[in-house]
């Protein structure tokens, strides 16, 4: 996952995984969450999800939740992860404001 390379924007996949983990979830539930939230537009493969989860664990943006040794490992967002999500939200807000102004569609 190539986040924070240019201008600190998160990839859509990263942002959705962070959002999904405000409530603890296991892998399959994350995939379902993303598919539901995007009405099937974004369908995440398990291999891609696995890579993304490991990257986020390394960054410390998410952490294992509950019984770590049990089957069905769950994950949850960390304070650092929430900070990254907040920054992304602010960036998107600015972008939407700017786009609305430019396109004359401000409500």
């Amino acid at each position: 996952m190539r986040d924070n390379v240019k201008g600190g924007a998160l990839t859509e996949v990263t942002f959705f995984i962070l959002l999904s983990l405000y409530e603890p979830k296991h892998g399959y539930a994350i995939m379902q969450f993303i598919e539901e939230m995007t009405e099937g537009r974004l369908s995440l493969g398990a291999g891609t999800l696995y890579g993304a989860i490991n990257t986020l664990l390394e960054k410390g943006w998410i952490k294992p939740y509950g019984d770590v040794n049990g089957r069905q490992k769950k994950y949850v967002i960390t304070p650092d992860g929430k900070k990254a999500a907040k920054t992304e939200l602010a960036r998107l807000r600015k972008l939407v404001d700017f786009a609305s102004d430019t396109m004359g569609e401000r409500s």
Binding site: M1, H26, G27, Y28, S43, G45, G47, T48, Y50, K73
Partner: protein
């Protein structure tokens, strides 16, 4: 039912074959070095995908397989079967030469992870971003690149054309995956998301 089947590594063919077996009413229930075992099932009940885990340690590969099983898939490790058995032989020979090669030989023995899921009518993809797919093909290319270099070197050393022919086969597979890799890489920079 056991089926003996060699695959020269082009995993798309392997996936197509497994899907076809499922369409005919046979589900994969086991793998060995040279065979695949099937049991009768409802026709088209399952779909297959194959991932490359030759770059992962045994523990890492097991962790990944567990993750996929948690999601509800079934997984089977399979050797990459470099065909001609020559490739395998070389790996085994090299395994005696030191830890680095021994690790590689073990890795090649379980380099592929066959993943099965219940057929829900949607295509079964493990890697869904272009960036991720580009990485997948690059990793898949590596064992073939190494084998090509080995056999090319062997050819130069012994001045026997036979080795070059073998090297050419590996080079061919290498190029197929390189093209896939470059295609995905280009797409990942052109298409967003």
């Amino acid at each position: 039912m056991k089926k003996i089947r060699f695959y020269s590594g082009l995993i798309n063919l392997q996936i197509r074959w497994l899907d076809k077996m499922s369409d005919r009413g046979y589900r994969l229930v086991g793998t060995g070095k040279l065979w695949y075992e099937f049991e009768p099932c409802e026709p088209s009940a399952y779909r297959y995908a194959i991932d490359y885990v030759g770059d992962k340690s045994k523990t890492e590969a097991k962790e990944y397989a567990d993750f996929l099983e948690d999601i509800g898939y079934r997984t089977y490790f399979k050797n990459i079967n470099l065909n001609l058995d020559l490739g395998d032989l070389v790996w085994e020979k090299l395994a005696d030469k030191g830890d680095f090669f021994a690790d590689r030989a073990t890795a090649m023995d379980r380099a592929l992870l066959i993943v099965e899921k219940e057929n829900d009518g949607k295509p079964f993809e493990l890697h869904t971003t272009y960036e991720d797919r580009a990485l997948f093909y690059r990793k898949l290319m590596m064992p073939y690149l190494l084998l090509f270099l080995l056999f090319a070197a062997l050819g130069l050393f012994t001045k026997m054309c036979g080795w070059f022919a073998v090297a050419a086969v590996f080079l061919f597979v290498c190029i197929v995956y390189l093209i896939d890799h470059l295609k995905m890489k280009k797409l990942s920079s052109l298409v967003e998301g």
